[in-house]
Symmetry: C2
DNA sequence: CGCATTTGTTAAAACATCTAACAAATTAGG
DNA sequence: CCTAATTTGTTAGATGTTTTAACAAATGCG
């Protein structure tokens, strides 16, 4: 039951019904391809005539293409299969991180083309845009020379005003109220440019991925644990944006208001317990109180190193991971109680130790989840190798073509 | 950008466009009444011809009625005003609370008819339904004899499965997995019966209230502070339900995981800091350590009594309220960071002391809100005299007629 | 080969929005 | 009082949908 907003509604016009049905057909072609017109008619519970019209239009718009004829072992005319048409144009996905920036080129349906490239992130916005322009053009000329770029998606580790293209606050990059959209438009000309917070983009990447098991969840949360904690919430197939596009900041919901100081200025945020720096400082803090000699430079010691040590039976490393696991679970319980999603995805370097930490995470969730059902929530692990941020950035460009039209 | 769910979509049929536009027209009549067809056409940015057809259909369905002719001081034919037709049928709103149950009768657009009645709540479900049947029939015969009852809305202080009508867990009533829908249907026959959690219902009541200032917010949170803490979240005009209809339980998000024990079994939940019992025990705890004689029976001492004492310069009462105010604000900051709503509504007995506690609440919010904008959030106080729970219960019955049709 | 069966298209019916014209009702102003 | 101007609300027809029904095309089976 959704209330119509009397100050922002959208009237149905002659073309609205067709628009809706075309998007449904496109969605089903995307999730069921290869698929024939007749099969589509059965899936949509409508007549084949209607499908003919809809598909003809999708063919004209080059969103869909006809492929080989199917070969079913029954009588009757063979079906002509329909596929998404990926050759139309190209999307550029950019993942801006504190140390390096990553670029991925995809086709118009988000499939990776060529290799992912990366280069050092210049922290001055102007320099960053300049070097980015160089790298993007180089990548495009190597991977897809002469292709039409449909749009670019940027993922930023911080708060972003999705509409104005202003980076409100990205502590890792030391950017505050930086208008990135303007210099980017100057550099790349008149192509669509989308900016989004990394947690939200990761959530998008999961929603728009067609899973092999055909699962299609429209209520999920993505938690990305890294230098900070990014969270993206999807409700009813739509990213939860909030009034200022800052919704989803569960990383700064406290575990204990008197806990350790957080980068945001407050105390005891979830992030201050489970971010990679927090886990590392827990490890070294304890080590140092034990006055053990440090064999490596602390500054270069990463969470991956800690996980390796934990696997080789460094009990202190294991303890540090277990603590993080427990705090991770306690915070997840807050999200579960607050949002009650169908599934939670977890990304970040920590996932490489999932086999070690899962039992502790599960125990902590059960400790605070309000009901047994909530405690048994499905958790999906997204390894770094799946590049959720880059795929989310690509989805910013490629997904709108498949989205439901705004109506009522 | 909303993703279409490939396993639960709704095709547009011939009637879909009309259905959408009819609901938009109905919504605008509701928010702008009295309003003429011509004015409606301007509001909807469509032609008058279309409006004629839509309104004729609404008139036939008796959702709308024509009223007196308008009197504008300009040339031209006088407009015939349109109004919502409230005489169609009747809704029964029921607010089930630990000690007493309240009944309100409303017309089909949620306006109160007659007086609100109440009776002691029997904690055995069968006895409860029996006495409820008696009281409802009595109220109906007094207030609206012979009227057709369109439906009944029940508000329960606990978790409810909105679809099956099962009360999953209502600690205050000591109900666990109680199927209320079945005995209610036996008692009242074949009328629509809706059950909902009190926090969600209160949020609904705010969404569907037409405010005098014309404000129409579709992203709000309602926080109800009473024996427990109930929270309802509305995003994009729709209640956030979650997979198990338990979303919104911010009352059990912790302020400190090692804090005071909560009725849910965990420690340090927000509820354990700000519920009325928590505030009272803070007051008496401190009083008792000071070994002051107690002039009243603690068991009968309510939060209202405490507020009266605070107003008469009982410094300990004031301190207890200020502590609660601070914790209230800290928890609100979590909601603000997580949801970023346009407005937060606060209900419950505590609101009677809002002038005392507001500055402390505001300070605490600013302490943990991630941005300045978030710290300046609009807060609305809903006094008990507005009966948000009963109005929410009524909305469960009356609102669906105005909701957007499900599409795509 | 003829028949059954499936796929995909086409023609026409039914039903929307939308444009344009028109009737009805009222005021302004000589 | 009368006419022109103006606004409201309806109607007729144009256009663009979905939907039904019929049909052509393609294929396997006996």
């Amino acid at each position: 039951m959704r209330k119509i907003n009397p100050k922002d509604f959208k009237l149905a016009t002659r073309g609205t019904s067709r628009g809706i049905n075309k998007q449904i057909a496109l969605t089903l072609i995307r999730t069921h391809q290869p698929v024939s017109r007749a099969e589509l008619a059965r899936l949509m519970e409508t007549n084949r005539a209607n499908i003919t019209f809809l598909v003809n239009e999708l063919l004209e718009e080059k969103l869909v293409r006809e492929g080989a004829q199917g070969n079913q072992k029954i009588r009757g005319r063979k079906p002509t299969f329909l596929y998404l048409n990926s050759q139309k144009s190209i999307a550029v996905a950019v993942d801006v991180r504190a140390s390096r920036t990553f670029i991925m080129i995809t086709d118009s349906i988000g499939k990776q083309i060529g290799e992912i490239v990366n280069f050092p992130t210049a922290l001055e916005p102007d320099k960053f845009v300049q070097s980015l322009g160089h790298e993007v053009r180089k990548a495009l000329s190597e991977v897809a020379p002469g292709a039409i770029v449909d749009g670019m998606g940027f993922v930023i580790p911080g708060m972003v005003d999705h509409n104005s293209g202003v980076v409100l606050h990205a502590p890792a990059l030391k950017w505050k109220n930086v208008n990135l959209l303007e210099p980017l438009q100057q550099e790349f000309g008149a192509i669509d440019i989308h900016l989004e917070n990394s947690g939200k983009a990761c959530a998008l990447s999961q929603i728009w991925t067609t899973h092999s098991d055909g699962s299609a969840l429209n209520d999920i949360v993505f938690v990305s644990v890294s230098d900070g904690v990014g969270v993206g919430v999807v409700i009813n197939g739509e990213i939860m944006r909030g009034k200022h596009n800052t919704a989803g900041e569960f990383g700064h919901v406290p575990l204990s208001i008197d806990g350790p100081p957080c980068s945001c200025g407050a105390n005891g945020c979830w992030e201050a317990y489970i971010s990679n720096p927090a886990t590392l400082s827990r490890y070294f803090g304890r080590s140092m109180t034990n006055r053990q000699p440090q064999s490596v430079d602390i500054a270069d010691f990463t969470i991956e190193d800690l996980i390796i040590r934990a696997r080789s039976n460094d009990s202190k490393a294991l303890t540090a991971l277990h603590s993080t696991a427990r705090y991770l679970g306690l915070g997840l319980a807050s999200i579960i109680n607050a949002v009650d999603p169908s599934r939670i995805y977890i990304g970040g370097e920590l996932t490489e130790a999932w086999d070690i930490i899962e039992p502790h995470v599960r125990d902590a969730i059960k400790e605070r989840a309000l009901t047994g059902d909530l405690g048994r929530i499905s958790i999906g692990i997204v390894p770094a190798g799946e590049y959720p941020r880059l795929r989310g950035a690509a989805a910013l460009v490629t997904a709108p073509a498949f989205a439901a039209p705004k109506v009522a």
